[in-house]
Amino acid sequence: MATKAGAGRTEADRRARTSFWGKLVNRPEIGAFFVMIIVLAALGMASGGLTGGASWNPFDGTAYNPLGLRNNTRIVAQLGIIAIGACLLMIAGEFDLSIGSMIGFAGMSMALMLKWGFAIRIPFTEITLVSFDYISPLMAVLLTLCMTLAFGFLIGNIVVRSKLPSFIVTLAFLFFIRGLTEVCYRFLNRAPGERSGSTQVSDLPDFKNLIDLEPYRDMLGYAKAQASQLAQGCLSVFQRPLNNNLASAEQVQAFIGNTSAGSKLTDAQLAAIVERAGPGNDLTKDQIAEVVNQVCAVDPASVPMVMDRATAKALPDADLASIFSTLSPERVDGLRQALESRALLDATRRAAAAGRDAPGQLPAIPDLQVAREHIESISTINPVANMFGGDIFEPVFDWLYRIGFNINPGGSQWVEGLYAVVGWWLAIALVAWFVLERTKAGNWIYATGGNLQAARANGVPTDAVKISLFMVTAFCATIFAATQVFDTNSADAAKGNLKELEAIATAVVGGAILTGGFGSIVGVVFGAIIFGLAQNALFYIPWLDGAYYRMFLGSILLAAALLNENVRKRFTGGI
């Protein structure tokens, strides 16, 4: 009998020791990594240099010049944030189709609070429990988070208690929350007297750039000018009816009342103006102005001194000069030196580009420019809004400018920094990666999706895991919405439409499998880069039609799903 002795050989030996490369290939994110490299290179080459046309050097392309980088990373980061939430939930074996609607809802909630304030009323009564006319950006974000997290908690509870597929439960919430968002816009976003509100908010102040010039109030003509503006408006309106020979005081009053300046006056003010300066009083223009000023007088001391940076920098020269006069000599020197070195750098570079000699001496920096630079450095009164909608990595981009990159075709610094959403994306990715790979909670998430019964039998609180992850996706959607609202100072009922599907697609491309138990945050980061760049590619590749994006998304999604299934089979021994 021909037998072969199995002596010395154990079961463990049958599994070949995996090499470094073998381990790498078994990583869930490996497919996404290679696709990402291809997309990065292809976009760079196809987007062409500043001269247009393709180039073999991907870094020549407009996609990765500082401006391209700024715009591309924003799209990537927005997608990345919600994809991380979707990925964590998928690893635990559930889905969330309500992400997109949650983005719309959170944006609506923040924008309406910032615009109209916040109140809790008992429906069908006149009883108001709490009411705030003004809601700070921080409170807007926190109150919105309370609501979206409550939605996440509710969805999670329904899923774990009813044991219905999360597909159906969250599909229901996709419709419900989107509808609720529109209803809220219609109902809450209307000026007094309007029957139904607009489904968008587009006139929010630029919260992240609001600065307070209160210390300069007494020396600025701004407050006085603001105070007299109303009177001026009234006056200009008021002088017209006289020219039009309106006959009676009532007709004058009706005319003024219908104009934009007149609509800000009370009926008593209107009546007073008409009585003292209307037809039949035979006043001169100056006398009419006097009356209007008396009636409409606004106390300059009550004019708020909060304004956005752009308005402040455009103040009249006299006001800027007043601000300049408050600066200490050291401060002036510091600001002036910074501006001078910048101007010299720009001039030297321009001269070098034109083949001329470097300029020896530049004209001195005017005082008003120093004052504007000072206004630029005054910190915002809404650091929270700045945190969501402002810029980040500014020192890096300043440094790049100084060492010779980040220079626009005009020869000065190109971009200030990246959108804050990029920072949120990186921070959320880092935290999610740490939680998933290095904490107890991460082990529970994997186990909940990998084998629910086993996790339960080992004492893992699987219901709590799932409910918290539904809250995490709601959190990610809220952060997405906050970065959008404070960046663009607007909101819209249609925001976030179809984002849930892009988020799930990104998670799948990143290596997550639909049945749970497997996935990777690193993979989702790669996936977000792939889809973000592809989505934005039409702006950088002149001949590319935007419609190709969905074809690309579809093909990559299918390929990724097939690859993931293959990996899963290898890991479970073909089951």
Binding site: A12, R15, T439, A441, N451, A455, G459, G517, F571, T572
Partner: protein, 270 residues
């Protein structure tokens, strides 16, 4: 000793680590267990045999705290217990290795070994896991009962059935099981792996500080490894005894629930 006596006096004379007295479990008007009594001693493999529907699963689920008993008492080292949840039972020192092993096939050996009881260095669920320490413990513990795993980060899905069984047993022991309940550990395994699992059970037995309840369908395995047998049929103990008391023929007869097998053999012989 009579093969049909319900509660044999134990010759070692110590307090049994687990004693079940007159355990009754009713599901509505269905009586799953009807007054079962059982003694298991430390360092002993106690085989629990019986046909399908005999009440083996109900008995272990009651011991595991999944079902509260309708009446009767479970004593651990002489102290009566009232388990309200599987957690109570496992905290008291009863480790159950179910047939499906409660493993996550997509996660690593270490992550499975410490599932739900991770070694962490921080507060609450967000405490970070000490992976190196956990890897070391998992490897050591599995080596102790006879499986050398080459890589504690390999996924459980890639392991053989015997290795998975060992992992589940090592895990139960490490987390303080004084009584180890193995639910059909050799079913659905190949011949060689069955022997591996039996060897593992023998190693655990030789430690001398753990009592093992072995539920099985296979009287050959039971005969190979068990010190003591209890036979269940229709929710009652129909026989028990030590390895030396029982012959293979008798075991087979009792496993099939008494005399019926002989009748069946007769019928088949025609």
């Amino acid at each position: 000793m009579s093969a049909t006596s319900a509660s044999p006096a134990h010759e070692i004379g110590t307090v049994p680590v687990i004693r079940v007295e007159n355990l009754v479990k009713k599901f509505g008007n269905f009586t799953a267990l009807n007054g079962v009594s059982l003694d298991v001693h430390t360092g002993e493999v106690h085989a629990l045999l019986g046909d399908n529907g005999a009440g083996k699963s109900t008995l272990i689920k009651t011991l595991a705290g999944v079902h509260p008993p309708t009446s009767g008492t479970i004593y651990l080292s002489g102290v009566p217990q009232h388990f309200r949840s599987p957690r109570d039972s496992s905290d008291a020192g009863i480790g159950v290795v179910y047939q499906d092993l409660a493993l996550n096939p997509l996660a690593s050996v270490t992550r499975n070994f410490f599932l739900g009881r991770e070694v962490t260095g921080g507060p609450g669920p967000l405490g970070w896991m000490k992976m190196a320490e956990m890897d070391r413990i998992a490897t050591e513990q599995m080596a102790e009962i006879g499986i050398n795993i080459s890589d504690p980060s390999q996924t459980v899905g890639t392991m053989s059935g015997g290795q998975k069984q060992t992992l589940a047993i090592a895990r139960a022991i490490y987390f303080g099981a004084k009584v180890l309940i193995l639910d059909e550990p050799t079913s659905a395994l190949g011949q060689k792996q069955q022997m591996e699992v039996l060897k593992t059970i023998r190693r655990v037995q030789k430690r001398g500080d753990i009592a093992i309840i072995l539920i099985t369908h296979n009287e050959i395995h039971a005969k190979l490894i068990a010190d003591r047998f209890t036979f269940l049929s229709l929710g009652e103990v129909i026989g028990s005894g030590t390895r030396h008391d029982l012959e293979g023929e008798e075991i087979r007869r009792l496993m099939a629930g008494g005399a019926e097998l002989a009748d069946l053999a007769q019928e088949l012989a025609i």
